[in-house]
């Protein structure tokens, strides 16, 4: 009894902890109080009812009812009878709220923090998950399987690739271990020993399921696998950088807390331009490879630029780093000389400056840079395709969608009437900057194909990393060597003449390699985050280029697709959707409802599985009871008791009274007979606890041992 309460409590804690897996998607202020209340109510009802009744499903049914009342009281208090009883109007209110929640999910950006409908959805989901998990764990005696409904919550952040806080994972894990520990007997065999063979089989099965779910299924369905292999270098770097835009196109922008990273003086933000810390070349279709460059050379007192260009003293700025947290110095995109009091090295391939020792606290350095002639006229005469560039700079990820991206790019370029490489790049940049087409958001939609760039060009929602990556890939399809630079926007000038750059100004932008002048920045990211376009790559003055007639449509698919093919109609409805990015409910994108459908289906399957597990447990425990009874009958028969095929359990117990020597064995036999009778003949087949059955059988068997010993002693001379 106490075990059932503890198990239910552990399940409740696990379910609650799992809810925090959603906190980057839905703000806890929306759900914490109602979810906690509902879970506590369900737990209380379950525990009390289990005290009073031995029924298996009744407590869960009543608890479901209690959950409905609690949710009504939270969300439809004014319409409910006495504040908790659902009336017609209360049901209508809840239904409408639910509908609004669906719309909010479609429209709002995570974390959603002002949509009660979403809170209602979360509360209902968690209540359902807890009820199911408890059903599996307590009456079903399978706490391990109870993890399935719990995991359905985790499926959401996994599918949407939302980051989850470590405490939520830890608390859920601990809760689950507590569930396993309190319900550990489920693993025992009828003999009462844990079977290594069974455990081994279970481990293999689990590993297999995980492998299929995490590796094989995404590969077959051509969605990105949630498992990513990190190189050791990446892991070493992982904590050491504050400049982590999470260069994975599949993840939402996870902004660090807003701290001042550095200040500088001596140049205006406009003159200095963005400062990059590192550049990235290798892209696999969804993430950029962050392996650091291999070749470094001494950077002391020399011009730092990949190609040795003629230089004069130009502008200079003094930069003070207050909180960099990494070893790459942010440097301007022009040829520059860096004067710093500690040893640095320079990688020409990546155009990065590295501090040999991590900066102790503050670090001030002086940058002298020369502005190049990057006017439209100058750039128009240059042809990057003539360069003998590193093939990595032209590499298009092998996802099967390269040709589609190339086709789209070609179309944009043709529509813009671009001829030179410079014009082509301008056309691509301004296509991406077009507010009529693309929306800047910090959250990304879930993957449809293996190619994140193709998805982005299709969904047309993303942040700087998506925009920059898309432009780089598109440029590469035009045979223009390009890469992504990661660093900071130049920030704002304060009143005292210094400018400060905060962590929020982290940014990524494409660079294209031109002959003679070297790397040239473009700015495809629209909106606040992008800042202004470079002077040499202006936006068209208030004229929107004609969008291509055929946008990305998923007609040429390299592999079987799970997502729905977008019809031209829908395409146009998306294009016609209002500027703030809201879509009319009803023309919702079917793919965004997919996770919901998947979770719902999973819950249904789990519910069915739970019912089956309860049945199987009954069958198994009655099997245990019958096995035990069979053994007990054997003991009575061996002791010389009168047992015939027609002997009922009572008759066997009576026969045992005549032949069993110890009182404890006799009473155990009677208890066992009564249990067998109840399980076989009573309505509902009430089953005995397997543990108790084993104890009875042990006691009955020990009687025989005692007898054998006594006989030996009697036979002994």
């Amino acid at each position: 009894m106490i075990r059932a309460v503890l198990l239910s409590l552990a399940t409740a804690i696990t379910a609650l902890a799992s809810t925090f897996a959603l906190d980057r998607l839905v703000a806890p202020s929306l759900w914490l109080a109602p979810v906690a209340t509902t879970v506590v109510v369900i737990f209380t009802v379950l525990s009390l009812l289990r005290r009073w009744t031995r029924r298996t499903l009744l407590p869960s049914l009543v608890a479901t009812l209690a959950a409905v009342l609690t949710i009504t009281a939270w969300y439809a208090h004014d319409d409910a009878l006495l504040g908790i009883l659902p009336t017609r109007s209360a049901v209508t209110t809840l239904y409408l709220l639910f509908g609004r929640g669906l719309t909010s999910i479609e429209v709002a950006l995570p974390p959603i923090d002002d949509a009660p409908g979403v809170g209602l959805m979360v509360t209902c989901a968690i209540a359902l998950v807890y009820l199911l998990a408890d059903l599996l764990a307590v009456p079903g005696k399978s706490p391990a399987w109870a993890l399935l409904p719990i995991l359905s919550i985790w499926a959401l952040p996994v599918l949407l690739l939302a980051p989850v806080r470590t405490p939520a994972i830890v608390a859920t894990g601990v809760g689950f271990l507590a569930m396993l520990a309190t319900g550990a007997e489920a693993w025992r065999e009828p003999t009462g020993r844990t079977s290594p063979r069974r455990m081994g089989a279970l481990a293999v099965l689990t590993a297999g399921v995980l492998a299929v779910a995490l590796v094989a299924a995404p590969w077959v369905l051509s969605i990105p696998s949630p498992v990513r292999w990190h190189s050791p270098a990446e892991l070493a770097d992982a904590d050491s950088t504050r400049l982590d835009l999470g260069l994975d196109l599949r993840s939402d922008l996870n902004r660090p807390r807003d701290a001042v990273v550095m200040t500088y003086e001596g140049a205006s933000p406009r003159e200095l331009g963005p400062l990059h810390a590192y550049t990235l070349t290798t892209f696999n279709g969804s993430t950029w490879d962050r392996t650091p460059p291999e070749e470094w050379e001494n950077a002391d007192n020399r011009l730092l630029w990949p190609d040795q260009v003629e230089t004069e003293e130009g502008e200079s700025a003094t930069i003070t780093i207050t909180d960099l947290g990494q070893d790459r110095l942010p440097i301007p995109g022009e040829p520059r000389r860096v004067e710093v009091d500690s040893a640095t090295s320079y990688s020409a391939a990546a155009d990065e400056v590295r501090l040999e020792q991590a900066a102790p606290g503050e670090l001030t350095y002086r940058v002298t840079y020369r502005t190049r002639d990057l006017s439209a006229a100058a750039l128009s005469d240059l042809d990057p395709t003539e360069l003998d560039a590193d093939p990595a700079l032209l590499q298009i990820p092998d996802t099967g969608y390269g040709p589609d991206v190339a086709e789209l790019t070609q179309e944009i370029v043709t529509d813009a009437g671009a001829e030179t490489a410079y014009e082509q790049l301008l056309a691509v940049q301004n296509y991406l900057r077009d507010p009529e087409l693309f929306t800047y958001t910090e959250s990304v939609t879930s993957a449809r194909t293996r190619d994140a760039v193709w998805d982005f060009l299709h969904d047309r929602r993303g942040y700087c990393v998506q925009f920059a990556t898309a432009m780089v890939v598109m440029a590469r399809t035009l045979d223009l060597p390009a890469r992504v630079a990661v660093g900071y926007l130049p920030g704002e000038t304060q009143e005292d003449g210094t400018a400060s750059i905060s962590a929020h100004q982290a940014h990524a932008w494409p660079q294209v390699l031109f002959p003679d002048v070297g790397w040239v920045r473009f700015e495809p990211t629209p909106g606040v985050q992008a800042g202004t376009t470079p002077s040499w790559a202006p936006e068209p003055a208030a004229q929107t280029p004609e969008p291509p007639t055929t946008g990305p449509t998923q007609t040429t698919e390299p592999e079987e697709e799970t997502s729905t093919t977008t019809s031209a109609e829908e395409e146009s409805s998306e294009e016609a959707s209002s500027e703030d990015g809201t879509e009319a409910a009803g023309t919702a994108d079917p793919s965004s409802a997919l996770p919901g459908i998947v979770v719902l289906a999973a819950l249904l399957v789990i519910g069915l599985g739970g019912a089956l597990a309860v049945r199987r447990y009954r069958a198994r425990s009655s099997g245990e009871l019958e096995t035990g009874w069979h053994q007990a009958v054997g003991v009575v028969r061996a002791a010389g008791g009168q047992v015939r095929p027609g002997s009922t359990p009572r008759a066997v117990a009576a026969a045992g009274d005549d032949v069993l020597s110890s009182e404890s064995a006799r009473s155990a036999l009677h208890a066992l007979a009564a249990a067998v009778e109840r399980s076989r003949y009573a309505p509902g087949g009430r089953d005995a606890d397997p543990q108790t059955v084993r104890e009875w059988v042990t006691q009955i068997k020990s009687d025989r041992k005692d007898r054998d010993e006594m006989k030996e002693r009697a036979d002994a001379p």
Partner: protein, 307 residues
């Protein structure tokens, strides 16, 4: 339940020292069955019937079966009243709560069948008018075990209508001594009062019907029935009706023991009472001196309860 216990006490008073028999009689009454007593004269058959009738505030009808008894002697007759010019029905001795039919095998088969019909239908049709018999209604019939002159054997189909056959048997020594000591002057029915109204009986009947019978008990019972049909000493085995009666009686017995479900033990303790009188033994077995009770007991010992 308390009323049932008092009723049991009343029957125990007239049948001292034989609790199983009392329980079977009571269970038959609650299961709306009829009882066949298989006894020599003079062991208190009538007393038991009287005690039962009085306990349930009912009436007792008594019919002494003779070879010249006619069906109308049981059911009653319609008589023309000249002063009113109407026909009037005069109910016969069947219109009672407990009807005791003494030496039922002395009557002609025609009269026997009239009795058995009203046992099954619980109604009597006289001159085209149907009259309901009272509720509850129970027939306790006696048969003489010894083959005497002027008796007709009850046909198998009619034996089948009786839910159970019990023998009251002779009282145990102590009880017989007490009977002899009073010299027969003590009224065996003294102190026996009505402990149940017809409504109580009806409610108890409903409770009996609600007793749960698990599938495994039903399967066991089927196996037992089948075994009677396949037994080597049996020419004619138990009918499906026998099974129905056995289930109903087992439910009543479980109810009397305050259990809400039937055990195979109930089936076993009733098996002989319900099945033995329905079996027709093979000629060879009769010659060898086998009796039906032994056959049933043998089957109950051999059929496994846990299928």
């Amino acid at each position: 339940m308390a009323a049932i216990r008092r009723l049991e006490g009343n029957l125990t008073q007239v049948l001292p020292g034989r609790p199983e028999t009392v329980r079977t009689i009571l269970a038959t009454f609650l299961a709306h069955g009829h009882l066949l007593l298989h006894d020599v004269p003079g062991v208190g058959k009538t007393t038991v019937a009287k005690a039962l009738a009085r306990s349930v505030s009912g009436t007792l009808g008594r019919i002494q079966f003779t070879p010249d008894l006619l069906p109308s002697d049981l059911t009653g007759v319609t008589i023309y009243r000249q002063e009113t010019g109407t026909f009037e029905f005069h109910p016969g001795p069947l219109f009672a709560t407990v009807v005791i039919g003494d030496e039922i095998n002395r009557a002609s088969p025609k009269t026997q069948s009239a009795l058995l019909e009203c046992m099954a239908e619980r109604q009597v049709t006289v001159d085209g008018t149907t009259h309901r018999l009272p509720e509850p209604f129970m027939v306790i019939a006696t048969q003489n075990p010894v083959e005497m002159d002027g008796t007709y054997r009850l046909p198998e189909a009619q034996q089948d209508r009786f839910m159970a056959r019990v023998s009251l048997g002779y009282p145990p020594d102590a009880e017989e001594f007490a009977i002899l000591a009073t010299g027969g002057f003590g009224d065996p029915l003294s102190g026996i009062e009505a402990v149940m109204s017809p409504e109580d009986v009806k409610a108890a009947g409903a409770a009996v019907r609600a007793v749960h019978v698990s599938d495994s008990v039903l399967r066991y019972l089927m196996t037992v029935l089948r075994a009677t049909r396949e037994h080597e000493s049996v020419q004619l085995g138990a009918s499906p009706r026998a099974g129905l009666h056995l289930v109903a009686l087992a439910k009543a017995l479980a109810y009397l023991q305050a259990r809400d479900y039937v055990l195979p033990d109930d089936v076993q303790s009733l098996g002989v009472a319900v099945l033995a009188h329905r079996l027709t033994l093979a000629r060879t077995a009769r010659v060898e001196g086998t009796v039906a009770e032994d056959v049933v007991a043998d089957i109950l010992a051999r059929v496994p309860v846990d299928s």
